[in-house]
């Protein structure tokens, strides 16, 4: 099936920007793969939950990982550089990878998030995730006291 290598797909972001990608790279996203296999491919494929900025990044990752000429360690080096992004972008990428069902990207992103979160204090976590602390002072103390071993 020689034509499958050159087959291209058009992906359209939520803000109506169109991206051309090779089908062989795009099927790393199971959501897209299922559409292709079920022959539900309209041209272009609308991705209502992913904006153009994030979609461009996902495509960058997708194409790098689809390249058969690269070794695993080269891909890992790429990943290390790829995740050096602001935390908010990483969260957006996680949502996109989830929506597209892109396992490899998810794993890389979750590992990165976990690694960053490891070093944060409880206050920093709230700040980065933009979370309101809804505990009273006593409630927070009680929550911490339930697991003293975690705070040693």
């Amino acid at each position: 099936m020689s034509s499958s290598e050159e087959r291209k797909l058009i992906l359209k972001s939520s803000d109506n920007e169109e991206f051309v990608v090779k089908e062989s790279s795009a099927v790393q996203c199971l959501t897209i793969k299922n559409l292709v296999e079920d022959r539900c491919v309209s041209d272009p494929i609308p991705l209502a939950n992913v904006d153009s900025k994030i979609l461009a990044l996902v495509i960058e990752f997708m194409e790098k990982h689809a390249e058969t000429t690269l070794s695993n360690s080269e891909k890992k080096e790429f990943d290390v550089e790829f995740v050096k992004k602001p935390f908010d972008d990483l969260l957006e990428l996680i949502l996109a990878a989830n929506y597209l069902d892109f396992r490899e990207l998810m794993d890389v992103l979750c590992n990165t998030c976990a690694k960053q979160m490891e070093n944060w204090s409880v206050e920093e976590v709230r700040e980065k995730f933009n979370i309101q602390n809804d505990y009273t002072v006593e409630e927070e103390k009680a929550a911490r006291a339930e697991n003293p071993w975690a705070f040693e």
Binding site: L91, N98, D101, C113, V125, I131, D134, N147, A150
Partner: protein, 475 residues
């Protein structure tokens, strides 16, 4: 809140290959509960599906995850999820289902709870936290042949030695012999001071139901406690060897067939307690007899070994139990094993004749009861005793002991029992091979000593012991 639910439903339905939880998602039920709790905006987190959050938590690990409960109330609920903590518990080196069994059935210490707590009532997070704080214990499992010792936090015994503890009629009193025994083991483990509790297996002796035997058993237990407390051990837990082997197999009731060094004991245990009044059977065939028989068989073929040690190695590596003895005799069963310093040794019929003496003692010229007869007799007594409404507790047979690891032994015993007993009794019989090889009792001790409630429910402190022995309340 509505956005969160929509995103969660969205992500679950979008991912066809996602986990089996997409049909009955307990997370979603809990979130419906949370709808009634006032939760203020949670910012960026609002948009991330729960299962991704849990995936990140799993990578973060238990300590970091527990810390995150202090961030806000919704995170507290998510991080307390039992499935997450079961995952963390399973990633310790003892298998998750052993931990689950231990924490649900053995929490209370003796006497065991007959109706164990249902799992959903327990918070695995709390269990995890308690287990982290358990100090770990020193395990000493001494039988009549070999003694295995080590630490509960390690994955296997760190040392094994031939027992030199004499239980027979010897001049010096039991407690001083025990003290000698324990201090040698402790010096081998290089223990100078005792900061951890010690868990000890009590070998099975004096198994009758007579007053004399009961008294002897109590004396042995007290002697163990007093020897260790004299050595300034802070806390001691002493459990019978057969019971520990039962726990290692994740049961609290059943018949333990312990093939020891000198003899094989058949011990009925109900709810962790040995049923002496039902009757503990004993057959005078053990590892020593098996090795001796193999040596004789080899001598008949002019293969002579001075040391039983070599014969034992051959036994452990070449012997097995045939499912059908007669049929096996007509097969070609040759196999060879390379013994260091002796070279390649080939055995054929001896490979399965050795284990056969358990089922047909007359092959070795012995008058002893056959194994299947003794187990069937024990089951008969159990049934007659009508100890509980459920008449299936004695149908689980657990094998323990080094020789019980002979391949094919459990299958053969099950087959023999089914053939020997009437159908009414034999349905539902299961024979379980030793779950941890030669060290079942040691692993049972490890299971108990890593329990979240170990120090509270299982150990006796010096003070408690002195108090009890003064009031003679020990059972």
């Amino acid at each position: 809140m509505a956005t969160l639910l929509r995103k969660v439903f969205g992500s679950v339905s979008h991912r066809p290959g996602s986990s089996s939880r997409s049909n009955s998602n307990p997370q979603i039920d809990r979130f419906q509960q949370m709808m009634y709790i006032q939760i203020s905006s949670v910012g960026e987190f609002d948009r991330i599906p729960i299962d991704i959050f849990i995936q990140i938590l799993k990578i973060l690990g238990p300590k970091e995850s527990a810390k995150l409960r202090a961030v806000c109330k919704s995170w507290k609920y998510i991080v307390s999820d039992n499935e997450l903590w079961m995952y963390f518990l399973q990633n310790q080196e003892q298998p998750g289902d052993s931990i689950l069994f231990a924490e649900t059935h053995l929490r209370s210490g003796f006497p065991l709870q007959v109706f164990p707590t249902q799992a959903p009532d327990l918070s695995f997070m709390h269990i995890y936290g308690q287990r982290v704080q358990v100090p770990g214990a020193i395990i000493i499992d001494g039988g009549s042949g070999y003694c295995k010792y080590g630490w509960s936090k390690y994955s296997a015994p760190s040392g094994r030695s031939a027992t030199f503890l004499e239980f027979g009629n010897i001049e010096s009193p039991m407690s001083s012999r025990l003290r000698h025994f324990f201090s040698i083991i402790c010096s081998r483990m290089q223990l100078k001071t005792f900061t951890q509790p010690i868990i000890v297996s009590i070998p099975l002796r004096h198994y009758d139901d007579t007053e004399f035997a009961k008294g002897s058993r109590r004396q042995l237990k007290e002697a163990i406690y007093s020897a260790l407390f004299d050595m300034n051990v802070p806390a001691v837990c002493a459990i019978n060897q057969a019971t520990l082997a039962l726990f290692a197999a994740r049961h609290t009731s059943g018949i333990v067939v312990n093939i020891g060094f000198h003899q094989t004991s058949i011990v009925p245990i109900l709810n962790g307690k040995i049923m002496h009044k039902v009757g503990v059977e004993a057959i005078g065939i053990g590892a020593l007899k098996l090795t001796g028989f193999l040596k004789e068989q080899m001598q008949q073929n002019n293969v002579n070994f001075e040391s039983l040690y070599t014969v034992r190695t051959l036994k452990e590596n070449l012997c097995y139990v045939a499912l059908d003895y007669k049929a096996e005799l007509s097969k070609d069963t040759r196999a060879s094993f390379r013994v260091p310093s002796e070279g390649w040794i080939t055995l054929s019929k001896e490979r399965f004749q050795t284990g056969e003496i358990l089922f047909q003692p007359r092959i070795a010229g012995m008058q002893a009861m056959a194994l299947q007869q003794a187990v069937a007799l024990c089951m008969d007594h159990c049934q007659d005793a009508e100890l509980t409404g459920d008449n299936n507790w004695y149908k689980t047979v657990i094998l323990a002991g080094g020789s019980a690891c002979l391949p094919g032994l459990s299958e053969r015993l099950e087959k023999e029992l089914r053939g020997y007993l009437p159908t009414s009794m034999s349905s539902g019989i299961r024979v379980i091979p030793p779950p941890y090889g030669v060290d079942s009792a040691w692993f049972g001790a490890k299971l108990v000593s890593n329990l979240s409630t170990f120090t509270g429910s299982w150990c006796v402190t010096k003070k408690q012991f002195r108090h009890w022995s003064r009031r003679k309340q020990m059972w």
